[in-house]
């Protein structure tokens, strides 16, 4: 036990240096006025009261929530759906599995640049089909487009869902088949309930991720627009800190974002417990 604990030491050193100390420093900065040029000046709760009156902050928070509300279920359905489709080994399945994982290994910036081209409203291939107008110009469509971008980067969730499906003994399906259950019954009464604990955990993880990881697409593909429709919290934090040099203000926002994320995860955890999913 002690020895295996020692194996975690390098990880904890990294955690402390890269997350712990910056987090504590950030928490301190949240109560200061700091431009990066002069020394931080203690300002009490000023940053937080300013946040409460900042329309753009509320707007980004709402954008983030809307993003999570669309992206999390979408990603879960895509990851779970592809896992169920590609569960059985047959012709082409191994390459299809690799293809499903591939978008997750592409560096985020490269992936985003690809989408800049795909979504281009003038010469992009999606616009050329004529099926989807208003991408990157209409706020609603743009929000959907960003959520859709994330729905293809589901490699890890896909692998976890695949493993969860593989863990269900095939005899349960045979028993159901002999009992006269149709495929739909087997899916809804056996597959999904038995995968539910894993899917619940994936959803929880995805909420945390989706509140943070839309930074790259928003930064590269849409630059927060149109009309602030894709200015999510992480992007607004970044701009406040490194475009407007309001580092204290940005820190305060990070703290709020952290508390907010923790609250969402907690609520979800309680729900999952109540529904006996985990």
């Amino acid at each position: 036990m002690r020895r295996s604990g020692a194996l975690a030491v390098p990880y904890f050193i990294g955690l402390l240096l890269l997350v712990g100390i910056p987090a504590i420093a950030g928490l301190q900065l949240a109560f200061t006025e700091f431009s990066g040029l002069a020394a931080p000046r203690f300002s009490g709760l000023d940053n937080f009261t300013a946040l409460a009156r900042d329309d753009l902050f509320w707007r980004s928070a709402l954008n983030s929530l809307v993003y999570a509300a669309i992206a999390v279920p979408l990603r879960l359905v895509v990851a779970g759906g592809i896992a169920l489709l590609l569960f059985r080994r047959s012709f082409g399945v191994p390459s299809a599995r690799a293809a499903a994982y591939l978008p997750s290994v592409i560096p985020d910036a490269a992936y985003a640049l690809l989408w800049v081209w795909l979504l281009n409203p003038i010469y992009g291939p999606i616009a050329a089909t004529g099926l989807w107008s208003g991408i990157l110009t209409d706020p609603g469509s743009t929000r959907l487009a960003i959520a859709f971008m994330g729905a293809l980067q589901i490699g890890e969730a896909f692998v976890i869902a695949l493993a969860a499906r593989a863990a269900i003994p095939s005899q349960l399906y045979e028993a159901a088949a002999v009992d006269g259950a149709r495929p739909w019954t087997a899916l809804t009464r056996i597959t999904l309930p038995m995968m539910a604990p894993v899917l619940a955990l994936l959803a929880m993880r995805d909420i945390v991720l989706s509140l943070q990881l839309n930074f790259v697409p928003a930064f590269i593909v849409t630059e927060g627009g149109p009309r602030f429709a894709t200015t999510y919290l992480p992007l607004y934090v970044y701009r406040s800190a490194f475009s407007y040099f309001k580092l204290g203000y940005a820190s305060a926002m990070s703290v709020v974002m952290f508390v907010f994320t923790a609250a969402v995860v907690y609520v979800q955890y309680r729900l999952a417990r109540r529904w006996r999913l985990i």
């Binding site: 045979e174 088949a177 002999v178 006269g180 038995m194």
Partner: protein, 343 residues
């Protein structure tokens, strides 16, 4: 409802791509199960008994032949249409459902009315003494209780036939003997045609109205348990049934002139240990194994080892010289090492 299995072949391909071998799991199986009968299918592992059961259930397709249940050809039917229910070796209970939901699953899948489902589940639970456990999940049940839930799930649908795939092999020895008798009583009471697969010859002999011995995908013999024991059709059946197995020796048969090589067999309980003067054969008692009331004596006669089963009170000392005696009428003759009975 009778079951007819006619000329059933089923083969699998094994090994890597390019160097696959075709292995016949079922190599022309013919069997007939009468209405209300319990047919036990027994054989060593790999003999095809579970494959046969899965073919009857529709979980495996067959390459040739046909299967009839209650006069209907079900060969091409989906498992759910065959009106059979199956008890699996590891019970295959749905872990996320309570015992009650597990039992009700088949009825729900068939969209039976709710009231009917409730009353049937209750009825079967009473029959198997599961009333108090209906709200319990499988993980909280003991092995014996799980097995009863699996039985209840099979019974509740009132199918034309039960298919049981080693339903007792996951239970401990004591419970197995008890459950065996329970299944037997239940089956007699419900009078449902049953096919019961086991690798345990004692279980097959005690539970079956008739026993089919399977070997390498073929039926060696089907008969009533005692008949199977007394008049084995092949040397394999003779050696497979009985504990310890029948003593088999290579021998030469002369009837005026030399007939050829045969296999001579005698049951361990049909040999007596007698004084050296009265003996037909002499040997040395190498090992003496107590089994409770009886002992099994391993006697070396020349190069052959002969097993003798006898009352524990009369067993010789290990290492002592012993005389063996048997009645000619107790000898079995088989054609060659693997052959059919010559009697």
């Amino acid at each position: 409802m009778s079951i007819v299995i006619d000329g059933v072949y089923r083969s699998f391909s094994r090994g890597r791509r390019g160097e696959q071998q075709v292995v016949a799991a079922l190599d022309g199986v013919d069997l007939e199960v009468q209405d209300g009968e319990l047919l036990a299918i027994v054989g060593p592992s790999g003999s095809g008994k579970t494959t046969l059961l899965r073919c009857i259930a529709g979980l495996e397709e067959i390459d040739e032949g046909f299967i009839e249940i209650d006069g209907t050809d079900v060969t091409k039917m989906l498992p759910g249409k065959r009106d059979v229910s199956m008890v699996f070796q590891d019970f295959a209970l749905y872990p996320h459902m309570t015992a009650g939901d597990n039992i009700a699953f088949g009825l729900k899948a068939q969209r039976k009315p709710k009231g009917e489902i409730g009353s049937k589940v209750q009825e079967v639970a009473e029959l198997l003494g599961l009333e108090a456990l209906l709200d319990t999940k499988p993980a909280q049940l003991s092995g014996g209780e799980r097995q009863r839930v699996a039985l209840a799930r099979a019974i509740v649908r009132e199918p034309a036939a039960f298919l049981m795939d080693e339903p007792l092999s996951n239970l401990d020895a004591e419970l197995r003997t008890y459950s065996r008798a329970e299944i037997r009583m239940l089956q007699r009471r419900l009078e449902v045609t049953t096919i019961y697969v086991t690798h345990d010859q004692v279980e097959a002999m005690t539970i079956g109205d008739r026993v089919a011995v399977l070997r390498d995908g073929r039926v060696e013999q089907v008969d009533h348990p005692i008949a199977l024991y007394r008049t084995p059709a092949t040397a394999f059946v003779a050696s497979f049934l009985g504990a310890p197995p029948m003593n088999l020796f290579p021998a030469e048969l002369y009837a005026q002139k030399k007939y050829g090589s045969i296999t001579l067999g005698i049951r361990p309980e049909r040999i007596a240990i007698v004084s050296l003067e009265d003996a037909l054969m002499r040997g040395v008692a190498r090992v003496v194994e107590p089994t409770g009331p009886e002992g099994i004596v391993h006697v070396d006669v020349g190069k052959n080892r002969i097993l003798v089963r006898m009352p524990w009170t009369h067993v010789p000392k290990e290492g002592s010289a012993v005389g063996l005696w048997f009645d000619d009428n107790d000898l079995y003759l088989f054609d060659g090492p693997d052959g059919r009975s010559l009697q």
